[in-house]
């Protein structure tokens, strides 16, 4: 019943979005602008219809309506309510539905906020968003239909994928990811709208799209960090990034979006790099679709890959249409969009942004080619090869270390031009930070050259970014006699974009320190312990207390309780790594336990155990500064929120 309603709603939405797409050019070319209200109506109606379908799905999941195919595939009466609700995005069809809903929401928000703007930019952007929506709507009534009727109706279902119902971050990471991924359709829509409406020659589309990109970038960054945290907490090997194709797929649009957020500043201030910025905007969207294609087509093997079906062919068709349409549009109009470059001087922030864009793009292409290379090698050489962590680390770490350095140089240099002497003066002070960090890094025993450089440049960049705050606050105190906190608040409020950006930089530096330290100084040991026996890893000692078992409605849990011992032998805490055996799967899901402090993590995983509880094989990993990564993610999000809500737009001025 509820399945029929939802399916009908989706069928109607296909018609509605198709109508909206066709109506837009008719209304504009035919000079019947009042018809545009119908287009906007289509956007709102689509949002309403997809919302009906999404809510129906949640209701079907919660009420265990196993006559709905998706519920029959992922639902289970024994799954806790929260995990039942979030299994909405736990498998293929549901995730497509959720995607369509987020997209419909973004489209409605764009129309709501911008439809009063004169000109053809917003109508064509709405048309683009409707066209993308059309693809997902077609998937939902075709190959990814989650509302197929099931007969006979099963009494119970298998429940969600066990890895996905084992941790609460499953409720956090996917929605953030979709908000980030799908949100990047909006800047893309503005870019396409700008080309079709001939407004790409002005900078207004960039100002509109910039804010949406910043919001999506914030979501995507949060999603990537949350995803790292999630895999750290559930996969049991103490790592957070494995350069898996699906992880790479989330990283690729992040790189181009980051490049875009910098180049768009040059475009707005200097009226240059317009074509390049537009290309980054379009590339970001194409990479989100490509990433989705790789996740859902099964052409690359990955831990995170969804089960596959004919949906891969639809995605291939969609990528084909998107690539062809955007390439034809952008290349065909490139002569008009392109702007002449003009720089005040080589020692300027603009130059640093060019380098930033170069390194980000180079990392993106390296990761892209590396991810696709197994396919390329099989096509050209007929041999199966793997491209994994060692390759990606070797090839991308140097560029990423260089980017950390540039993060310190950029904010230190002014827009426009400066003299060499002034530039030298501005770039010297952060060297103090660099020196301090270099000394610390070497003192604690860092030997890898890239790790030393990373720490050093983090010091440089931290000093460079913090100085901007310091200088600004000092100037305000002098001019207005403000107290430190007041001057900080007013400084940030005066130029949210700029100071929000610096906050995001600081967040990135935290992430960089966390990653460098935890990968450089990670130590691990594994041993089979009898109760009472201890295991020591780089100064941290744990003692096995006992091995126990517990029955829960949807799973059996086997756990080991370990005491953390201080130097004097006193117990300072306990850890309970577990192995969860879900009814539906023979494969146990490891559930490591982590004791975090500002200095780092003590990570303990239960690897194996004797059935009678006589012993347990325990892996202990000591990873310094891992929590800094999660904290850095939070700082980045705060930075992007600050930057998003800036006041009126800034005119192209030179400083």
């Amino acid at each position: 019943m509820i399945g029929n309603i939802a399916h009908s709603a989706l069928l109607v939405s296909v018609a509605v979005v198709a109508l909206g797409v066709i109506l837009t050019p008719v209304a504009i070319r035919g000079n019947r602008r009042e018809w545009l209200q119908l287009v906007y109506g289509a956007v709102y109606t689509n949002f309403l219809l997809v919302s009906i379908a999404t809510v129906s799905m949640v209701v079907a999941l919660v009420t265990h309506d196993f006559s709905v195919s998706y519920v029959a595939a992922v639902g289970s009466r024994s799954t806790p309510l929260l995990f039942t609700i979030i299994s909405l995005w736990g498998a293929l069809e549901g995730s497509i539905l959720f995607w369509a809903w987020v997209l419909a929401m973004y489209a409605a928000a764009v129309v709501w906020l911008h439809s009063r703007r004169p000109g053809d930019l917003v109508p064509y952007a709405a048309m683009t968003l409707l066209a993308v929506s059309a693809f997902f709507a077609i998937l939902l009534v075709g190959p990814a239909d989650p509302f197929r009727p099931v007969f006979p109706v099963p009494a119970d279902g298998p429940g969600p994928n066990t890895l996905l119902q084992n941790h609460i971050l499953m409720a956090v990471h996917p929605p953030l990811l979709y908000l980030g991924y799908v949100g990047m359709s909006v800047p893309f829509a503005f870019a396409i709208g700008a080309i079709i409406s001939n407004e790409a020659t002005s900078n207004e589309w960039a100002q509109l799209s910039r804010r949406w990109m910043l919001a999506s970038w914030g979501f995507l960054t949060a999603a990537i960090i949350a995803g790292m945290w999630w895999s750290y907490e559930v996969l049991g090997w103490g790592g957070y990034w494995a350069w898996d194709p699906v992880e790479n797929a989330s990283f690729l649009p992040w790189l181009t979006a980051t490049a875009y957020l910098h180049s768009v500043m040059v475009q707005e201030r200097r009226n240059m790099l317009r074509l390049w910025t537009l290309n980054l905007c379009v590339a970001t969207f194409v990479l989100t679709i490509l990433g989705t294609f790789l996740t859902r087509s099964g052409i690359l093997s990955s831990v995170h890959a969804f089960t596959t079906g004919s949906i891969g062919y639809y995605f291939l068709g969609f990528i084909g249409i998107v690539l062809v349409a955007t390439l034809v549009l952008v290349a065909g109009h490139s002569d008009r969009i392109r702007t002449p470059g003009k720089l005040g001087g080589a020692a300027s922030r603009e130059t640093v942004f060019l380098l930033n864009n170069l390194f980000l793009t180079a990392v993106m292409l390296t990761v892209l080619v590396g991810t696709l290379y197994p396919l390329i090698a099989e096509a050209l050489r007929g041999v199966k090869v793997s491209v994994g962590e060692p390759f990606f680390n070797r090839m991308t770490v140097p560029a990423m270390v260089a980017l950390i350095f540039l993060m310190g140089v950029g904010p230190s240099l002014p827009w426009g031009s400066t003299t060499i002497a002034d530039a030298r003066k501005r770039l010297t002070l952060p060297l103090i930070g660099a020196l301090i960090m270099a000394v610390i890094a070497i003192a604690v025993g860092t030997r890898s050259i890239y790790a030393i450089l990373a720490f050093t440049f983090v010091g440089y960049a931290a000093m460079g970014n913090l100085r901007e705050y310091w200088n600004g606050m000092r100037a305000r105190r002098k001019a207005h006699g403000e107290s430190w906190p007041v001057s900080l608040m007013r400084l940030v409020r005066g130029n949210r974009r700029r100071y929000g950006g610096y906050v995001a930089h600081i967040g990135i530096l935290f992430v960089a320190i966390g990653i460098t330290a935890s990968s450089t100084f990670r130590t691990e040991r594994e041993a089979t312990l009898l109760p009472g026996e201890t295991l020591t890893v780089s100064g941290k000692t744990v003692r096995l207390k006992n091995v126990w078992g517990r029955e829960e409605p949807q799973r059996s849990v086997i756990g080991a309780t370990l005491d953390i011992l201080a130097k004097d032998g006193s117990v300072t805490g306990t850890l309970e790594p577990r192995m969860n055996f879900y009814r539906v799967s023979d494969q146990p899901v490891p559930t490591p336990d982590v004791k975090s402090s500002i200095k780092g993590d003590l990570y303990v995983n239960l690897m194996a155990f004797e059935a009678n509880g006589a012993n347990a094989t325990i892996k202990v990993i000591v990873e310094p500064l891992v929590p800094w990564i999660w904290f850095g993610g939070l700082v980045i999000v705060i930075g992007s929120i600050i930057g998003m809500f800036h006041g009126g737009r800034r005119a192209a001025v030179t400083s």
Binding site: L365, Y373, G388, F609
Partner: protein, 139 residues
């Protein structure tokens, strides 16, 4: 059809294997890894470059699976016997195919994979320098 059936089968055997091992308490040797930390570090370095055959994209260093653990033991023994990391990688590549190397060999077409990032950065630097010079030239 056949290929998908086969893949499902392989994963099935693995899954069942793991579960049984866990339930009947895989009797892992009680001897803890020997104290030779230098050898351990070298083992970790080599094991990190080999792909676990029964996992998805994990190295045998990171995988908790029985086979990966045993392959690590092979790596450790071969290092102790004086073999070089290159010889050990060649051994595994001869048995499992090039697929097992997480870092492709720098030969043939694979060279492109290694040269491309360098070319991108160097070429990009040349372009940036060219553009900055062009754009700062007084009109």
């Amino acid at each position: 059809m056949i290929k998908f059936g086969l893949a499902a089968l392989l994963s099935l055997t693995f899954v069942i294997g793991r579960a049984t091992e866990a339930q009947t308490a895989s009797p892992r040797p009680r001897a803890t890894i020997d104290a030779d930390s230098a050898l351990e570090a070298r083992t970790t370095a080599v094991a990190s470059t080999l792909r676990c055959p029964v996992c998805q994209g994990e190295s045998i260093q990171d995988s908790p699976s029985e086979l990966a653990q045993q392959m690590r033991a092979v790596v450790r023994d071969k290092l102790r016997a004086g073999e070089t990391p290159e010889q050990i990688k060649a051994y595994f590549a001869a048995r499992y195919g090039e697929w097992i190397l997480l870092e492709p060999k720098m030969t043939g077409l694979n060279v492109v994979l290694y040269v491309l990032p360098v070319v991108l950065i160097l070429g990009g630097l040349v372009i940036v320098i060219y553009l900055v010079r062009k754009w700062t030239r007084p009109v």
